[in-house]
Symmetry: none
Subunit: 417 residues, 2 copies
Amino acid sequence: MRCEVVAVGSELLLGQINDTNSSWIGQELAAVGIDSHYQTKVGDNLDRMVEVIEIALERSDAVICTGGLGPTQDDITREAIAKVMGVELVTDEALVEKIRHMFGSRGRDMPESNLLQARVPAGASAIPVQPGTAPGLAAEFERNGETKLIYAVPGVPWEMQEMMTGFIVPDLMARSGASAVIRSRVLRTWGTQEAALGEQLAEEIERLDAEGSVTIAFLASGMEGLKVRLTAKGTDEAEVEALLDAEDARVREIIGPIVFGVDDENMEAVVLRLCKEQGLTLATAESITGGLIAQRLTAVPGSSAAFRGGVISYATDVKTAVLGAPEGPSVSEEMVEAMALGACATLGADVAVATTGVAGPDAWEGIPPGTVWVATCVDGEVESHMLRFRTDRDRSRQYTTITVLNFLRKRLVARAD
Amino acid sequence: MRCEVVAVGSELLLGQINDTNSSWIGQELAAVGIDSHYQTKVGDNLDRMVEVIEIALERSDAVICTGGLGPTQDDITREAIAKVMGVELVTDEALVEKIRHMFGSRGRDMPESNLLQARVPAGASAIPVQPGTAPGLAAEFERNGETKLIYAVPGVPWEMQEMMTGFIVPDLMARSGASAVIRSRVLRTWGTQEAALGEQLAEEIERLDAEGSVTIAFLASGMEGLKVRLTAKGTDEAEVEALLDAEDARVREIIGPIVFGVDDENMEAVVLRLCKEQGLTLATAESITGGLIAQRLTAVPGSSAAFRGGVISYATDVKTAVLGAPEGPSVSEEMVEAMALGACATLGADVAVATTGVAGPDAWEGIPPGTVWVATCVDGEVESHMLRFRTDRDRSRQYTTITVLNFLRKRLVARAD
């Protein structure tokens, strides 16, 4: 089964928005063994869209179009697909009702133009999964004696993703009769370089190449650390799971402690899980990270079971007034440790993390940007570390966040032993 | 002059790396009035690369290939271009020397494999600008009586960018005799639907279509609101700027108050600017947003000039203990207003925003997820609003953040009048 991606939107060609949808879709397809050899970006132009979809259908069995399903004049993906199929657009009354209802349930009137979104190429149908107001499309038709598939999803990433995982990927797998089961597991690491990881695992990768049932790939995921993806192929779920479990164990034996989570479990989720398991409450005191740590913790559903709250002590006197830190240089070991203790006291928590530093772009009180102090407090005991970054404001804050959470994670793991 | 982009690399199709080069190139080309109607991603496969470049040359005058110029076996962009041109690869002795010299000047021996990078399609030449060890390629040749251009640049963004601005863009402009200047301006809006905006501006868009010098496009940027992009074409900067200023004024007359910023100025940057202009300090009290507001504010360089800090009162008793809010239901008008006043008092700020609500996925104290209260405090006066979302946890938090900042923005704008 070959499936191409066509990303629609002049703003993608003009670089006003980055097309991240194609890459995401390519990753999902690869994970289930469906090839995506070509991905094309085209503007909001009917003839060009039709041409691109035609070319894709000549090379592949299926095409997934993203974008151009909105309610405005330049949303013409519906028209393009109808033209490729050689059919008319017809109004889907069920869709009209569905869209009307969506607006109604949000206490809003539906602009008439949204009815455009209920227009469907004759013979195509709406994708049952519809997280937003824009319906997706699925069409199957004959072309030179071959069955071809066209899917259309909105360009809004979360809507696209829900339609992909909820309908399109399962549909493609069923149709491709993919008997081989392919599953991946991602071991998430923090605190090493890709080259170093490659050297550590070089032998194991050679062994696997010879064997053939499992493969290892490194995914640099920027500010979320390095991911080691294990992919196993087998005849059924049980076999594949067994292969993944065995390889998971072997890899951990080699790279051990730098693995902090599996698959979608990010650093903050791991820390919250460890806190809950040990019946501990958590608090934050943030200066350089300015709420980033708390924001990431509270993005995890159920975080309220462990997270008490935080203080963002951006102005120096807030550190003393609210956190009870002593007067003194605000980017220092003494300050960050006082902040961590203050977070536990002020917010009534068992453990805490604290950060202070110079985000930049400019130096501050003679301290160069990228200078950061972080601290963790567990059972009243504080530990602090100095970090140095040679990167921009945003990355410094992101790295600081994951680094201090990783320090806390290690202490909590040790505490449980 | 039409110029397509072909991004080469299997890792791009697999989503292990996002192709940001095509977008960047598209932006540069648009800025000088060169059309880029198609951008294609293809893997490290000779036949597919040749096919994609052939298709691009049929539709366009020039093709820019990015990636596949490295020294390894799967870097085959050189071979693909030679095959398209119908010529052999020849060794460019000058390039051999240049590459040898580069390694030498870095005190490193040159691996023999790097000599591959000195192989050039007969008739093509190396791009004079060469920031890294990988040379770029430029080729001009006849095809069905038409002159075609092929450029190849490394996939490493900064190397690609230096070759683009230092050689390819000037070369294309000279060849196309491009004199037209094209500039865009983005008006950022919050609080309306794309369809509604389309209806409001329908007449104006028709008028512009008839006139032809300025165009309007809508860019749904998800949780950052709707963008209205004005694009003007003229003979020089001054004329284009005048066109944009005039259209900017006309559009604001029609959609007025929902415009909060221009181009890259996001909501938090606008609020911070207004605070600084009015000599006001700012604080936050966050429950449902859990630090997201403070994090976005502190992501803006120079935010410390206005932002004092914040309290994340996630646990109910933190709202009373730290912010001095009265006992009572924690998702209510009374609570959110007490939080906003408490933020000003506790953190010593002139203005504040506060949020409390049920992020979900589950209801809480019988209150359905998506129920949110927000408040703004300006000069000691509090205003609050209830919001209702039918979306997931993350989006509820994002929408809450921008919505409450927008309420504050409006009050600060009114205050200045």
